[in-house]
Amino acid sequence: MSEALERVVFDCNIFAGGLISPSGSAGECIERVLDGQLMLFWSEYVIGEIRRIPKKDTPRRLGVTDEKVEALLARLLPVCHLVENPPTLYQRPIDPKDSHYVNLALASQAKLIVSRDKHLLSLTNPTKPGASEFMAKFPQLQVLDPAQLLGMLRSRKNNE
């Protein structure tokens, strides 16, 4: 076991992906939270975004309902850590949602944001424009997709 649990922030679509494909990488990330291997931080904003999942076309067509989302939230609430009103230390004009996830990670001292959003992922991808400035300002932060997070956790376990 690592010396400290990894603090993470999940993009709301990780929860959508987990509900739609529980055996996929997003689902496995959520299982890691439930298994106590990750400390997940969220906010009222993130919970609100999760509650909006059934209103979107693909989740709705596949059968994601308000009831299923509430059932997921009920299971996650006891093990997730709520951050109230994270201060705005970062602002991304093109997408306020990206800003919130970064600010949530900063407020909760989480080093990892897990997302499939290519805009968020580009923030810590050195080959993308603007990433070097972001990484210089917030060197502690890393944005990973679910498969990268799982790979990192497996690699750590193998090294223990």
Binding site: S21, L34, D35, G36, K56, V64, V79
Partner: protein, 84 residues
């Protein structure tokens, strides 16, 4: 709420104390959370998802396509462009 007493190796207790400290929880709460997760958490998503997972498999979409659609619809719902 039930109470149980269990015997565990000192080494395991030390690890649990370490995790509880890192998680900012009392040891008793951590152990309760771990037991809850172990007894029902692993299959929790599949239970809640129910037939959604089967519908997803039948749809022919793969994980990448699903992720891309979710992102596009999320951005569309917020009026934020998602194209490069």
């Amino acid at each position: 709420m039930s109470t149980i007493t269990i015997r565990i190796p000192d080494r395991t207790e030390a690890k649990l104390q370490q995790i509880a400290k890192a998680a900012g929880k009392p040891l008793e709460q951590l152990v309760g959370d771990v037991l809850e997760a172990q007894t029902s958490g692993r299959r929790m998503l599949e239970e809640i998802s129910g037939d959604i997972g089967q519908r997803f498999k039948s749809s022919g979409m793969n994980e990448e396509e699903l992720a891309e659609r979710l992102e596009q619809e999320d951005h569309q719902s917020r009026g934020v462009p998602y194209d490069e």
